[in-house]
Every structure is written in C-alpha cells, then in structure tokens.
C-alpha cells in the first residue's frame, strides 16, 4: 500500500507524518484540525468565526471524501479551502455574524484572545494582498517550505517567494520592525 508524506499538525511541528492514502475522514480530521483552525484564526482574525471557517472546510472535505480522500495529500486541499474561505470577505463576515449570533445567545467562542502584539502582527498580515497574506500564514504557522506553500496555493514556487518577500517587506514597514539579516 502506498504511503505518502502527509501534512503537519501544529503540535507536530514541521516533521512529516506518514499517512495512508486510504485513511478515514475521522483520522484525517483529528490530525489536521488544530493546524487548520490555527490557519483560519490567523487569516480571519476572528475568535468567534475561525472554528466555523475550519469546520466549513472539513465539511466540504467530508462531502467529497470519496474524491478528496484519494488525493496524494488531502491536507493540502483542506488548507487551500480554509485559506480561501478565511480571506473571502463576504464569506468570512457571514460566518462571523452567525457565530456572533450564537455568542449573543450565551455560547462562548472556544478560541482565546491573542496577545496585543500578536493581534497587531496578524492584523498587519491580513492587510496585505490576499496571496501575500496566505503565503506568510502558511509558511510561518506550520514552518512549511516554499514548495509546500506553492502546492497549497496552486502556484509556482517563484511566485510564493515573491509573495513572501513583498509581504514581509510591507509588514516590516507597517510595524516598524528591523530588517532581518539575509
């Protein structure tokens, strides 16, 4: 049976995980959920809506699991979906509003607030053009190599490098940070 390099969870850092291509949706969900909800949180900035954005992506995967589960790496697919959902302004606002409606009725968001410095950093990232924001979040949150980010975004490695370079430059300017040494 073919074993493939799977995607990474937050807890597991950047070490590749060997997974069977024919794994169940349940196993896939349990492994990938933390990383995907983290990505949604960073790209949406919504404490109340991030989990719903992640669940929306997994629901889409679940509905098409016969197809998605057969991909070389379903984790790439679900990250692409949540990255696009999280930066889709209208979609995000609708999800947030519905989540807020539940909060208004007494349900507390499960995600805690970030520190002020982190909120400022991710807000600066979200102010970037969509592809730059996605590239930075994917590259840094899971320590993904450029090639993996390119796979998720469905673009060339050179394009991702350009997004990372331009995005970092803008965030450095926005937050008045020091330039990193080359």
């Amino acid at each position: 049976m073919a074993f493939l390099e799977g995607s990474r969870s937050v807890a597991e850092g950047s070490e590749p995980v060997a997974v069977e291509a024919s794994e169940t949706f349940e196993d896939f969900y349990v492994r990938e959920f933390p990383a995907v909800v983290g990505l949604a949180y960073a790209l949406s900035g919504s404490r109340s809506g991030a989990e719903d954005l992640a669940q929306e992506a997994f629901l889409a995967a679940h509905r098409g699991w016969d197809r998605v589960g057969g991909y070389d790496d379903p984790g790439v697919w679900v990250r692409r979906v949540v990255a696009n959902l999280s930066v889709s302004a209208i979609r995000r606002r609708v999800v947030e509003t519905k989540a807020l409606a539940r909060i208004a009725l007494g349900q507390t968001p499960a995600l805690p607030e970030l520190s002020a410095e982190s909120v400022e950093f991710w807000r600066a990232v979200r102010s970037l053009p969509r592809r730059q924001a996605q590239a930075i979040a994917l590259h840094y949150l899971e320590d993904l190599p450029v090639a993996e980010v390119a796979r998720i975004l469905g673009t060339a490695e050179g394009t991702v490098k350009k997004h990372l370079f331009e995005g970092r430059k803008k965030v450095v300017r926005l937050l008045r940070l020091e330039e990193d040494e080359a």
Partner: protein
C-alpha cells in the same frame, strides 16, 4: 525587533490558542470527530428549521401579554404614546449556513416564508413594497462583490443594484434613507478590511458617495434623513473583542461625526444595530451586556429599557421601532431557553408582550413597516 522574531511570537500565540481550545473542550469533546459532528448537525438542524416554519409551527394567532408593569422610569419621562399594533415585521432565523427571511403582522397571525437565504439585517423600503437584501441572496454568480439588492415584499423579483464599478469594494447595505432615494452601506475590501460608510442610489446602486472613512456598519437614518447612526470601532480603544462596538452618529454629508455611547458598549450584530425613533428623539440599540437600551442622538440619557424581571425575558438580541414610535419590537432569549423569540414593549418598558413562542427556533427581528 525583527520580522522573524515577531512572527515566531505570533505563531506561538496562535498555537497556544488552539491548544487552549482543545484543552477546554477535551473533557466534553475529546479530540475526535464529535466536534465536527456537532457542527454538521447544527447545519442540518437549520435546514430542518425551514421545514418546521413552513409546516406552520410558528403560526401566531395572537400575542401574549407578558407584563403590564411600567418600568423604573418616572412617569412621563418617556411618554408611552397610544398606538395599536399595526404593520408588519421582518425577521430572520439563523444558524449554520441558513439565514432565512420571514414576515409576520405585528398583531400576530401566520408567518410568511419569503423563501430567501439572506445575510443579516434585511430592511423594508420606506413604502414597505420592497425589502433591501444583499447580493448573496441572489444567484451565486452575482453574489460577489457585495452589492445591495432588493426583492418584492413577498420575496420575489430579486434585483441586483450593481451600480458601482470598483470590483474590489464590497458593500454591505442595510438601510434606506427615509425618502427612499439612497441606501446606506458599510464598505470593505477584498480582504475584509473596512473602508468606510457609503451611500448609493436606491434605483440602481450607483452614485457612490463616501460618508466617512470610519470603520462601521450603518444602522439607520434619522427621520429627516440628514444623519446616520452606525456601529463602529472607537478610534482610541479599538474593539475590546468581537462582541463589542460603539455607536456613532454622522451627518449624511459626512459632517459632525460623534460617538454617542461609551466605547465597546454595544453588541455589534447587524440585527442589533438598532434604529432611530420616528420622532427623532431616541436611538434603540442592544448593549454589550445584552440589554435593550435607549440613548438620545446627542449621547445623553443612555439607559436600559426597564423590562419586568418577572416576565422571564433573558438576553436581548435585536430591536426596531414601530412606524409610529409607540412600540419597540425586540428579540430575546427567554430565561432557560436557547433560542430567541420576538417581544413587543412600550419605550418606557410597559405592556411587554410576546409575539412568537418557538422553543426550537430563534427569531431575530430586523425591521417594522407600516
């Protein structure tokens, strides 16, 4: 500090937040698909809501008087003007991926399913002949960018008002001007970043005018149309959380922008933005503490509408004025219930009445037309 060190700290903070989420839910929902199953069930449940309503579970044949008590305000402070329960209410039922739009007479009666999935905050036109919705209520191919749209009062005849050329500008349009010629909108770009408050022509959605570049979503026009009240973010303090905003008033021409509540005193939900009383004296809104509140447009005499504590009304979600200003319709969760119902009350807190009673369905009132 360098970019890399700042990024590392921010990444660790996200990881910590996810770990906290997992720890706080692990006793009830160990790291299994149960959390996903619950999300899926909630979406399926909301599909069933439509069937429940259509089947007539929410047919209201008469309102229920909950309390005749006059609240704590002194007699005469806010006159309870006479007024029969007339006109028609719009309300939405939320959750998961469904936000369905319904109408009901203020005096009770059958619920009308308008057959629309809408974004929050649908409003009547001043003449009550059309309803303002967003482009997401129409065909998927016209949903983006965000634009205003109208439907007839029965939910038919969807019309996209796509008169703005800038495709990177999304408009969340929530309210007509009193003369019906303009529509007030909150603008945001493709990244969801707010760009300001705008108005467009009601006939075709064109004639874009920026009212202010403040971050906010419009709630209502003043009765003469010369001012707009909106919920936004205090420029000094920002929003303390997703659940806190601040009420502002600005001239429709962008002049005289002012904050009329304390920062973060308002729950910033589209259906709770509140509205301007027909006599121009009050703005109703929902406090961050989930109370029904009134404030003068100049920010004075801000107070909670005193609801009889024995009436069993819990957290308040959403409010709107009757066309004659004699009543406020609001949504609230009854104590012990998860889902909200619609109530009616005089502005002084007297004559509290319950319009809908549906333990399994949450109704959110958005507007009231004559």
């Amino acid at each position: 500090m360098t970019f890399d060190s700042r990024a590392r700290a921010a990444v660790l903070d996200i990881h910590r937040a996810v770990e906290v989420m997992e720890m706080t839910t692990s006793t009830k929902e160990p790291r299994t698909v149960e959390r996903f199953d619950r999300f899926r069930d909630r979406k399926q449940r909301n599909r069933r809501i439509g069937a429940i309503l259509v089947a007539g579970a929410l047919v209201v044949t008469g309102i229920v008087v909950v309390s005749m008590n006059v609240g704590g305000k002194e007699d005469g402070a806010i006159p309870a003007t006479p007024g029969a329960l007339e006109g028609r209410l719009l309300f939405e039922v939320y959750g998961g991926d469904r936000s369905q739009l319904y109408a009901i007479d203020a005096a009770g009666g059958p619920v009308q399913d308008l057959g629309l999935d809408v974004d929050p905050g649908a409003h009547w036109s001043p003449d009550g002949k059309t309803i303002l919705v967003t482009s997401t209520a129409g065909p998927a191919e016209t949903a983006l960018p965000g634009r205003p749209a109208t439907v007839a009062s029965d939910g038919s005849d969807f019309r996209l008002l796509d008169g703005v050329e800038d495709r990177t500008l999304n408009l969340a349009c929530l309210v007509f001007s009193p003369d019906g010629t303009r529509i007030a909108c909150g603008g945001f770009n493709d990244l969801g970043a707010p760009t300001g408050i705008y108005t467009v022509r009601a006939t075709d959605g064109g004639g874009l005018r920026m009212v202010t570049d403040a971050d906010g979503v419009p709630a209502d026009y003043s009765p003469e149309g010369e001012q707009i009240v909106f919920v936004g973010e205090d420029p000094d303090t920002g929003s303390s959380s997703d659940e806190a905003g601040t009420l502002f008033v600005v001239g429709s021409d962008g002049t005289n922008l002012r904050e009329i509540t304390e920062p973060n005193a308002v729950l910033p939900l589209p259906f709770t933005h509140g509205g301007w009383s027909p006599d121009g004296q009050w703005i109703v809104f929902m406090g961050a503490d989930r109370t029904l509140r009134l404030v003068h447009p100049d920010g004075t005499d801000e107070h909670a509408v005193p609801l009889d504590p024995d009436a069993g009304v819990g957290e308040v979600v959403g409010a709107t004025w009757s066309p004659d200003g004699a009543w406020i319709a609001f949504s609230a969760r009854s104590v012990g219930e998860e889902d909200s119902d619609i109530y009616l009350v005089r502005p002084d807190g007297s004559e509290l009445q319950q319009l809908t009673e549906t333990p399994s369905v949450g109704e959110y009132v958005t507007d009231w037309t004559a």
